[in-house]
Structures are given as structure tokens and as C-alpha cells.
């Protein structure tokens, strides 16, 4: 028999007429919107089941709550769907290339996540008796050993919660070291190209920031630096490799000079990835350096945290390290939790408990996976990839500084001049190309800066495609009058450009029930 009830198996012949892009739901096939969680609740639903509470006589006294809070009630499948839909509106390193200079967006291995959830690690309480957490303290001690070996430094303070917190730790140690000598120094030297956290940190430690200009080759101006040295200088805060992606060649001289006036050398370790196994900050004269475990050692960025920022310290600064810290004694490990005994010079405590243990576990798993050979390979491939991008683009985009770069390639916007297209426009067009934009307008010392950090995780194929895409965009900007193409971008993202001015003029920072 002839079966004539089948469905069409070829696309229909369509006319050229424009069709409406709108849908009834506002969704577009796999692009699914979700209202605020507060707009989805129905009182009485619940997403967690509980046993009935025991009947007891309340000990809340007069403080028992009488008013409603105003939280929405939802079932588990509703909550699951809400967050799955939200997640799909995010770009992520798992999904695509993130050439975000200074941020080291690299592969996040999942064994690290598994390790952080091991029974006896992820679920232990910070104030358990020390005898019941010997494994945890041993793990912290091993991580400390790796960090000290990698950096060639004698000590490490583990508790800082992020890079900026680590900076605060390092500069507080510097201030304490001067105070211990009876010195009150007032100035701290910071290159113009520094991360914004550096001056913010120095100010919190009561220091006046004295900015040192950059030289034409993108490094700190040594003459200007020397001219600013004096007995009132507490130290220098230098990022190395610096924020232009360049190694500060004069780093040893900088260290000698600052030590010569009795100051200390703080190194911002944000760019440690480029030098793993190739050189050690300890051999460069560094006194303190924070290590962003979420960058170099791949504990995930998580949409903005949590981070972890242990600080390696020289012998001169180690006595001032914050509590708590792990000490190995005759009967195993113990925690020095208070400012006394071994820690009598400590400048204090920075965090409720001992540090970002969950991040320590992930970072140690990452380091063990790589080993000494893999760590060096990280630096070599990260620098190789950045230079590959540099030579792939530097005939079209202008590199403000000559020569090889470290882990990131920096361009300015001079070849976009008079095109009507800005660095921001190129970045937004990159979104339509399926990339996360590079770092823009940083460092501030380069006009319209585009800072591209590919990391070691990316393959040659990915880099070739990226270079091709960037060339396509820059050539389009230079050759066409189609500025609108760039001004409209992105057009394929879950949202078009957003009104940041409106958001800042009339801040709406929370949901409010309809009046």
C-alpha cells in the first residue's frame, strides 16, 4: 500500500519575503528566557522536604520573628530550570576562547572539582580538634611547599582570600617590617601601568602612592625610578611580567636599588603563568608576591570568585605573616592561630578562618597533575601562543612595544584611527564571532589598548581561527564605511548593548514587590 501520511523530509521551498523574527514567548528556540525567581513563586510550593520539627519550648525569647520575609516559593524542577536557563546566557571557558589579558582564563580540569568534594576535605569544620584534621593541614603544607619551590621563596602566607587581599597582606607585612625597625615611611612607588588594586591597597596601608612613568619600551623608567628613591620610600609594587605583557628586564637592579634605600620589593604575581619553571621571583630579589590560585593554578573563576591569594615572603618579611599558619611539630601538624609565640610579630588576622581551603585543594591537584615538567611547559606554551598571536596580527594592528612578549600580546588602536571604529566596537564584534572580548583599555598607558592572553590551553587551530577572525574584523573596520556593523554589535548575543548610564543614574539593585 502507498503510505501517504508521512511528514515532509526536505525543507519547504521558501519565498524571499522577510519573515517576523518575533515569537509569542520571547524565546528563540534554544535561546530561552527566564523571569526573576521572584516572579515565579507560588506561596506554598517548596523545593526542599523536611521532617516535622520536634515540639519544644522556644528559647527565642522576645526575638521570635513575626513578619514575613518575602521570599518566593518554588519547586525543585522550577529552580533547576531557572538556573539552567540562566547558565545558558553565559559565555565560559569550557564553551569557547577567552583571550582576556591579565586574567589567565585557562582550562579548569574537573579532577580538581572532584578533589575539593572528597569526604574529609570538603566537609570538615575549620575548628575541629587539630588531631582530627592532620590530613587537611598536611595538604596545606604540601601546597605551601609547591608554592615556595616554584617561586624560590622561603615562606608563604596562605590565608589571603584573593589577589587584592594578598596584596594587602604583602604591603601590611612591609609596613610592619618598617615599624619593627622604628621607621615610618610614607611613599610607595607604583608604575603607571599597575593594576588599580595596587594604589587602592597602598592607600589602605596608609601609604602615599608615587607613580613612576613607563619608558618607550613599556618597562618602568629607571631614571625616574631612581630619582624618586629616598629614605621615606617604603617599597615598590611592580607587576612582573608587567601589565603590558613584558618582562621587566631591569628587575634585579630594581630590587637592588629599593633594598639600597631600605625599602622592600612587592611583586604583583598576577602574571606568574608566564614564568613558571623559567625563573623564580626569589632569584629576582622579590620580598613579597601574591599568587592568584584562580589564575595560574586554574581554580575556576566562577563568574567572579571565589579567588585565593597566598603570598610568598622573603626572610625579611616572613616574621610578620598573618595568622593562622600551619607548623610541623614533633607530633604532627598544628595551627598557629594567635598572635603569640612563633607568631609574636604577626601583623594579625585577615580572614575568619584559615584560608580558601577549597581553592587550595584544587590548586594542589592542578600542580600535581602538571608536575615540574608540566609547569614549565605551561609557561613555554603560554608565551609561545601569545607570540604566535602577536606575529599573526602585528602587520594589521600596531604593537606599541617592539620585541617578543611574554604571555600576552598588546596592541593599541592607532590603526583604527579615522575609521570611526573603536577598541570597544571591535570587542563587541568579537562577541558575534563567538569569542569573549580581549581585555580593553588596560593598561591605561596604551591608547585604546587590546590585551590578548591566549594561555597554554588553546590549540594552534583555535589560535589560527582567532587570528583570522581578528584580521577579518580589523580589515573590515579599515576598509569599509560600515561603522554601523560595529556600532550595532553584538547582534547575536542574548542581549544587545546595555544601558549602563541608565543603570548608574537610577540604580535598581534589588527586586521589589509590586506596590
Amino acid at each position: 500500500m502507498l503510505n501517504n501520511v508521512g511528514r515532509p523530509t526536505q525543507p519547504n521551498a521558501a519565498s524571499d519575503a522577510a519573515i517576523s523574527q518575533e515569537t509569542y514567548t520571547g524565546n528563540k528556540a534554544l535561546n530561552l528566557e527566564t523571569p526573576l525567581i521572584f516572579e515565579q513563586g507560588v506561596p506554598g510550593r517548596i523545593g526542599v522536604d523536611f521532617k516535622e520539627p520536634k515540639k519544644v519550648k522556644s528559647k527565642l525569647g522576645a526575638l521570635a520573628k513575626k513578619s514575613k520575609i518575602g521570599l518566593p516559593d518554588l519547586s525543585e524542577p522550577q529552580v533547576l530550570r531557572h538556573y539552567v536557563r540562566l547558565s545558558r546566557q553565559n559565555y565560559s571557558i569550557d564553551a569557547g576562547f577567552y583571550p582576556l589579558g591579565s586574567c589567565t582564563m585557562k582550562h579548569n580540569p574537573r579532577i580538581n572539582e572532584k578533589a575539593a568534594r572528597v569526604t574529609g576535605l570538603g566537609d570538615i569544620h575549620p575548628l575541629q580538634p587539630i588531631s582530627t584534621v592532620q590530613g587537611a593541614l598536611g595538604l596545606i603544607d604540601e601546597l605551601a611547599h609547591w608554592l615556595k619551590t616554584i617561586t624560590g621563596m622561603p615562606a608563604v602566607a596562605m590565608s589571603p582570600a584573593a589577589g587584592a587581599h594578598g596584596e594587602l597582606c604583602g604591603v601590611m607585612a612591609i609596613r610592619s617590617a618598617h615599624a619593627a625597625k622604628g621607621e615610618a615611611r610614607v611613599r610607595i612607588l607604583v608604575p603607571e601601568s599597575a593594576h588599580g588594586t595596587n594604589p587602592a591597597t597602598a592607600a589602605l596601608c596608609g601609604y602615599k602612592v608615587d607613580a613612576v612613568p613607563a619608558r618607550d619600551d613599556g618597562r618602568m623608567d629607571m631614571e625616574a625610578f631612581k630619582a624618586k628613591l629616598g629614605p621615606d620610600v617604603a617599597g615598590v609594587m611592580l607587576t612582573n611580567p608587567n601589565t603590558c605583557g613584558l618582562f621587566e628586564k631591569d628587575v634585579k637592579e630594581i630590587a637592588d636599588l629599593i633594598h639600597g634605600v631600605g625599602g622592600y620589593f612587592y611583586c604583583d604575581g598576577a602574571n606568574l603563568n608566564a614564568i613558571l619553571g623559567k625563573t623564580r621571583p626569589g632569584d629576582l630579589g622579590v620580598d613579597a608576591m601574591h599568587i592568584n590560585l584562580h589564575k595560574t593554578f586554574s581554580t575556576p573563576h566562577g563568574g567572579g570568585g571565589p579567588g585565593s591569594g597566598p603570598v610568598v615572603l622573603s626572610d625579611a618579611l616572613a616574621p610578620f605573616a598573618p595568622v593562622p599558619f600551619v607548623v610541623e611539630g614533633a607530633e604532627g601538624f598544628y595551627l598557629q592561630e594567635n598572635v603569640e609565640g612563633d607568631a609574636e610579630s604577626s601583623f594579625g588576622r585577615m580572614k575568619t578562618y584559615h584560608g580558601q581551603m577549597g581553592m587550595f585543594i584544587r590548586a594542589l591537584a592542578y600542580m600535581k597533575s602538571h608536575g615540574s615538567d608540566g609547569l614549565r611547559q605551561i609557561a613555554e606554551d603560554a608565551v609561545l601562543n601569545a607570540n604566535y598571536i602577536r606575529v599573526g596580527l602585528n602587520d594589521l594592528l600596531h604593537a606599541p612595544f617592539e620585541g617578543v612578549c611574554m604571555h600576552e600580546a598588546l596592541f593599541d588602536d592607532s590603526t583604527l584611527k579615522d575609521t570611526g571604529v573603536t577598541t570597544l566596537d571591535i570587542a563587541k564584534a568579537m562577541i558575534d564571532e563567538g569569542y569573549h572580548p580581549m581585555t580593553m583599555y588596560f593598561p591605561l598607558v596604551v591608547h585604546g589598548a587590546m590585551l590578548i592572553e591566549p594561555t597554554e590551553s588553546e590549540s594552534k587551530d583555535t589560535l589560527d581561527m582567532f587570528i583570522g577572525s581578528m584580521r577579518y574584523l580589523v580589515e573590515k573596520a579599515q576598509s569599509s564605511n560600515d561603522a554601523d556593523f560595529f556600532l550595532q554589535a553584538p547582534i547575536h548575543a542574548p542581549r544587545r548593548r546595555l544601558d549602563e548610564t541608565g543603570a548608574a543614574r537610577k540604580p535598581i539593585l534589588r527586586w521589589n514587590a509590586e506596590a
Binding site: K57, K114, G303, R349, G358, E380
Partner: protein
């Protein structure tokens, strides 16, 4: 190496394209004397299987509260985290996203932050909350700095019943600024008289509810006293589940609320990462530290979210920033928000009710033991007991029996002999009846 894609041939081809002979030619800017020619003195790379085994081995050396009866609190609490929470935060798009500086491709993180801020504002009874901070103690320090900016005053008073680590972190943070803190002595009865020091030079008074010893207190009168002299009241909450059962800080007249959000959605993880909460009144928004997410519209008029008021932050204000912090607790705040969404009003208040009931029942069981007395007249899910011997010794003996029996007050106040025999004990919805029975019978043998 499984994480790095290049083959030897590809590396060679790339070097040729760059125009250098070897990869070492790319590192020529490093001073020759400081270059490493040997591998670091560390083990070579390891298989996933071996890494897994070594981490499991570390875990096996610890006594896990998932296995042992546990009554630990003092600022960190064991709660049940629904399976959905950990599943969702491990989705690639949340776990491996960067800070949402590109709002067009970060609406997931941003909308979740906006919902988080709303939830925190609601439970604390305040107008606005930020997108989270490192942890409770760092939030506390930031609140003091904020109060000094708002009032243009330089002194803060810290309650003696504020968690000792919060006091220490605050003191450490302000030590090199123009600001100073005055700490009161801890008191089991909570009868602190701030009025002796509360004058027109004081920027804020910082108190905790429930306090470090677990006591509940109504700070409404204190807030009025603060406001009379133009000072702010900062109320710290280290157990946020209490906000499901107890009068909120906002209802008591707090100007800034600081919290540790770990109890909702975040594992104990030996003390971190956790999620610091900071909420305040609308009029102080521009003096607030930390990241903020706000609602706006896109080019087509669709609702969307962006990071906003960023001129307060370090990357723009540099040395004039409100804080040097540039991260929030990202994934932990997401976990908090997902857990809170699952709970809702009904679940959150019920969770609080169960926690309180378990603690009351534990307190009854412990106070029936000879020589053990419950100190608190009021509490939420944690209280202080006195023992006939040093609490530190009792806890060690309990640990030897496989029980995590609370936190000795002396661990956090080592130089205060008054509290040698005092033990902090907490119960939550995870407390099982047989755990309590084991705890009680072990304690009877020891004291």
C-alpha cells in the same frame, strides 16, 4: 600532558612563524643569571588516577563531620545542601565564566547576582545588599570602614560578644588607616554598656546576633542610642539560618548588616571559601564596598543586568576606592542563591524552626548531665555550656571517641581564663537523635 594540546611539530611550526629558533628565545628578557635551566625540584606530572588517589588519601586522614556526630559551630555550620545546588554550580557556564564585565554574554551570572542581592536584602530586612565579599569577618571590617566614610568619623566600638576572629580581622584591617577600634570585654550575660563610650566621635557600634555565645538580643534600643549621636549600628549575623526565625537586623534599626552566608549552600570546606554578606540602607549605597549588579535595559528595550556604580571600585578610583577588593564570592553566592530559591519563604522558616528545635532538645539532653550547665537563657541553634573541666580536654577526649563535640571558647579566646571550661555547642537539621545519644553518653563518661 593531557591539558596542553600542542604536538612537537606544531610547536616547531609556530616557532618558525614567530621567527625564533627555540622557545628559549622568547624568554631572553629574563636576566641570564636568574634563568632556570633545570626543572624545579618537584615531582613530574601525574595521571588523573594518581592525583585522585593522593587527594583521597589526604581526606581519609581527617575525621569527617559527615561520618562523626558533629556539634561544631562558632561561625561555620554544617547544613544539608540540596543535591541540585552542587549540580548547578558545576555547570560549565557558571563554573568557568569570568567576572561579568561583558553583560551581553554574562546575563546568567548577572541575573543570579541581582537575585542574590534581593534575597540578602530581604532576609536581613535592609534596602540593598552587595554581590558578596570574601567572608563574614572581612565583611565586618569593610562595614567599619564604610561607617567611617559615611559618618566622616574615625572610631568604632566592637562588642565583646562579637566573634573574636571578626574583631581580629577588623583590627588588622584598620591598623594602618586613620581609623581605630575599641573592643569591649566579652560577657556571658550580654549586658554591655556602650553608652560610656558612645559619643559624637563614634562612627559605629558593631554587635552580633545571635552573639558569639549564642545569646539573642534585641538591639532596637541600641540603634536609637546610636542614631541620637549620629553613629551607625552594624549588626553581624554569623548564622544566617537564624534570620528565618529571629527578628531581622533591619527590624531592629541596623544601618549596616554583615553576615556569613556559608550556612546556605556552601560546604564547610575547612573554613573557606565562604560568602560574606553586606547589606545597608538605600542612602548609603554609594559608600558601599564591593561589586553591585543593577537592572537596566538593552538596545532593544529588553530587561537586562549590568555591574553598576563601579566608580566606587579600585580599577577606577585607585587610591580613592571604597575598598581594595575586586572580587566577590561568585560561585559561593550562586550556591547561596540557588539554595535559598529552593527553600523559599516556607522552607527557610521551616529550616530555622527545625534548627531551633534540635538545639533546644540538645540543650535539654546536655543539661541533664551532672556538672554540665547551659549558660544561655535564649539561643537559636547554638549555645554555651559550662563543664567541670577544661573544654579543650573534653573535646580531645570526645574526638578520641569519634565525636566532634563542639568548640571550646578558649580556642578563640586563649588568653581569657574566665572561659576555660566553656564549650560552644551547635545543632542543625543534620543532627540525628542517635548522634545526640552518643554525645551525651560519651560526655557522661568524661566529666
Amino acid at each position: 600532558m593531557r591539558y596542553m594540546p600542542h604536538t612537537a611539530d606544531e610547536r616547531q611550526a609556530m616557532l618558525e612563524k614567530i621567527g625564533v629558533g627555540s622557545v628559549d628565545d622568547l624568554f631572553i628578557d629574563i636576566p641570564e643569571k636568574a634563568r632556570l635551566n633545570e626543572l624545579l625540584d618537584l615531582p613530574l606530572h601525574a595521571t588523573e588516577m594518581d592525583v585522585d588517589a593522593s587527594m583521597q588519601a589526604y581526606g581519609a586522614q581527617n575525621l569527617s563531620p559527615s561520618v562523626a556526630p558533629s556539634f561544631l559551630g562558632a561561625g561555620a555550620y554544617r547544613h544539608h545542601v540540596p543535591t541540585v545546588v552542587d549540580h548547578l554550580i558545576q555547570r560549565s557556564e557558571f563554573l568557568t565564566a569570568y567576572t561579568p564585565y561583558q553583560p551581553e554574554i554574562s546575563q546568567g551570572t548577572l541575573q543570579a547576582l541581582f537575585e542574590f542581592q534581593s534575597q540578602v536584602a530581604l532576609i536581613t530586612g535592609m534596602d540593598v545588599a552587595n554581590a558578596s565579599m570574601y567572608d563574614g569577618a572581612t565583611s565586618c571590617a569593610e562595614a567599619v570602614l564604610m561607617a567611617c566614610r559615611v559618618t566622616r568619623r574615625k572610631k568604632a566600638l566592637l562588642s565583646g560578644n562579637l566573634h573574636p576572629h571578626y574583631r581580629e580581622v577588623t583590627g588588622t584591617t584598620v591598623q594602618f588607616t586613620d581609623f581605630s577600634v575599641t573592643e569591649f570585654d566579652p560577657r556571658l550575660d550580654g549586658e554591655e554598656d556602650f553608652s560610656v563610650k558612645l559619643d559624637k566621635d563614634i562612627a559605629c557600634v558593631v554587635v552580633q546576633n545571635p552573639d558569639f555565645f549564642g545569646r539573642l538580643q534585641d538591639f532596637t534600643a541600641l540603634s536609637e542610642k546610636c542614631h541620637e549621636v549620629g553613629a551607625l549600628l552594624v549588626i553581624v549575623v554569623t548564622e544566617v539560618v537564624s534570620l528565618g526565625a529571629v527578628l531581622s537586623p533591619g527590624e531592629m534599626g541596623a544601618d549596616i548588616v554583615v553576615g556569613e552566608g556559608q550556612s546556605i549552600g556552601v560546604p564547610l570546606s575547612f573554613g573557606g571559601p565562604y560568602v560574606g554578606l553586606l547589606a545597608t540602607r538605600q542612602k548609603y549605597v554609594r559608600q558601599m564596598p564591593g561589586r553591585l549588579c543593577g537592572e537596566t535595559v538593552d538596545q532593544e528595550g529588553k530587561r537586562g543586568f549590568v555591574l553598576t556604580l563601579s566608580t566606587r571600585e579600585q580599577h577606577i578610583r585607585r587610591e580613592k576606592a571604597t575598598s581594595n577588593i575586586c572580587t566577590n564570592a561568585g560561585l559561593c553566592s550562586l550556591a547561596f542563591s540557588i539554595h535559598m530559591s529552593l527553600l523559599g519563604e516556607t522552607g527557610f522558616t521551616k529550616l530555622a524552626e527545625i534548627n531551633h528545635a534540635e538545639a533546644v532538645s540538645l540543650a535539654e539532653a546536655l543539661s541533664a548531665i551532672d556538672g554540665v550547665d547551659v549558660v544561655n537563657d535564649t539561643f537559636f541553634n547554638e549555645f554555651t555550656v559550662t563543664l567541670p573541666m577544661p573544654a579543650e580536654e573534653v573535646v580531645e577526649q570526645l574526638a578520641a571517641k569519634g565525636i566532634l563535640g563542639g568548640v571550646p571558647v578558649s580556642r578563640l579566646m586563649p588568653n581569657n581564663s574566665e572561659f576555660k571550661n566553656h564549650l560552644l555547642v551547635a545543632a542543625t537539621e543534620t543532627t540525628r537523635s542517635d548522634d545526640v545519644e552518643r554525645f551525651v553518653s560519651a560526655l557522661k563518661e568524661i566529666v
